[in-house]
Amino acid sequence: MSPQDDSRLDDPTHAAIAADLRSMPDVAAPADLAPSILAAADRASAQRTRRLALVGAAVAFAAAVAIYLVVRREESPAMVVGMEGHRGSGFVRGSDGLKAGDRLVIHGTWRRRGELRLYHDDHEVVFRCTSERDPGCRREGDQLLGEYVVDAGGSYRVVLIDGTAPTTGNLEDDLAAATGPFQVSEPRAAQ
């Protein structure tokens, strides 16, 4: 539809009004209007640049934190515990029961400071390593190892616990009192 489609433009007064509206000259804009528009645009652009810089800095910070956390995670492998039975110069398979006189080599991997404990029947700590300086303990890289000679029947379980909290001897109580992460092995039976 164009203005010429308006039926009332047949009316000369209507047509004259339309023509006057079309031909009416523009008002001169104030002389300082254009410079003020451009100055406002420059201010808006500068604000946008500052906002982008702030957003960029925030993104960079978040990325740095994320990278740090990933690196930390890679540098700090999960806690791993285990034990192996030795009889003479050979291994005792997990399905075979241990006997008095067999040696249990317990080990735990944890980059941070932690304590390796061997519980007997979950009610008594019969061996512990806080560092390689403890009797029967040694370190191989991130791994702390200890060797214990089985002297009683029952079940043995290895625990690697963050920190060096005092032990009550009772596994359940000790884990309940733990303030940091810990890892518990499957029990190993001895006859």
């Binding site: 004259a16 509206l21 079309r22 406002a40």
Partner: protein, 187 residues
């Protein structure tokens, strides 16, 4: 589309947006300011809305698809923003006093040195008559007869139905006709 539009388009394509804005302002500031002044009838508000129009256009320059000229696009933005500003001013109840002030200023600005004395008198009479209708009606009349938009195109600019706008224009013409007759202009 004018040569100016092509040059502005090339500046935008080249990423020289600041220069494009400068060209748009230089080319169309008077038309945009006039459109704002006709609707809001207050110099300070018209000035503010003109600035908002160009800053808004600057944000949207990259998205403008050039289905119309830059001038038509800018006048559409100016019209829409002027109506918003006028309504805001009315809400603040400061409009009535400014209308009288604005109307006087408009007429003082009107003369075109190349126009005949009779034509200038007709324009001044028409401007005075436009003060008797609402800003929304002035906006519709200008979009229709000055920018030569269809009612469908006007509905996009103003966010109203084409039939509503057509009725608004139709109702305004007899009012203006009577006003012009009262001032001695019959056709």
């Amino acid at each position: 589309m004018s040569v100016g539009d092509d040059e502005i388009g090339q500046l935008i394509t080249a990423g020289r947006v600041r220069e494009a804005l400068e060209a748009l302002v230089k080319e169309h500031d008077a038309a945009v300011y006039t459109r704002c002044l006709r609707i809001v009838r207050d110099r300070d508000i018209a000035r503010e809305v003109t600035q908002q129009t160009f800053l808004g256009a600057l944000r949207d320059l990259g998205r403008f698809e050039r289905r119309s000229s830059y001038k038509t696009w800018l006048l559409g933005i100016a019209t829409h923003r002027s109506i918003d500003a006028m309504r805001a001013a009315q809400r603040q109840k400061i409009h009535t006093a400014d209308v009288e002030q604005g109307a006087e200023n408009e007429q003082a600005d009107g003369p075109d040195p190349h126009a005949t004395a009779e034509q200038r008198e007709r324009w001044e009479a028409l401007l005075a008559c436009l003060d008797g209708v609402s800003g929304e009606t002035v906006a519709a009349l200008l979009l229709r007869y000055r920018d030569e938009l269809s009612y469908e195109e006007m509905s996009i600019v103003l966010g109203e139905k084409p039939g509503t706008l057509q009725a608004r224009v139709a109702r305004a013409i007899p009012v203006l006709r009577e006003c012009m007759s009262g001032k001695g202009f019959t056709s």
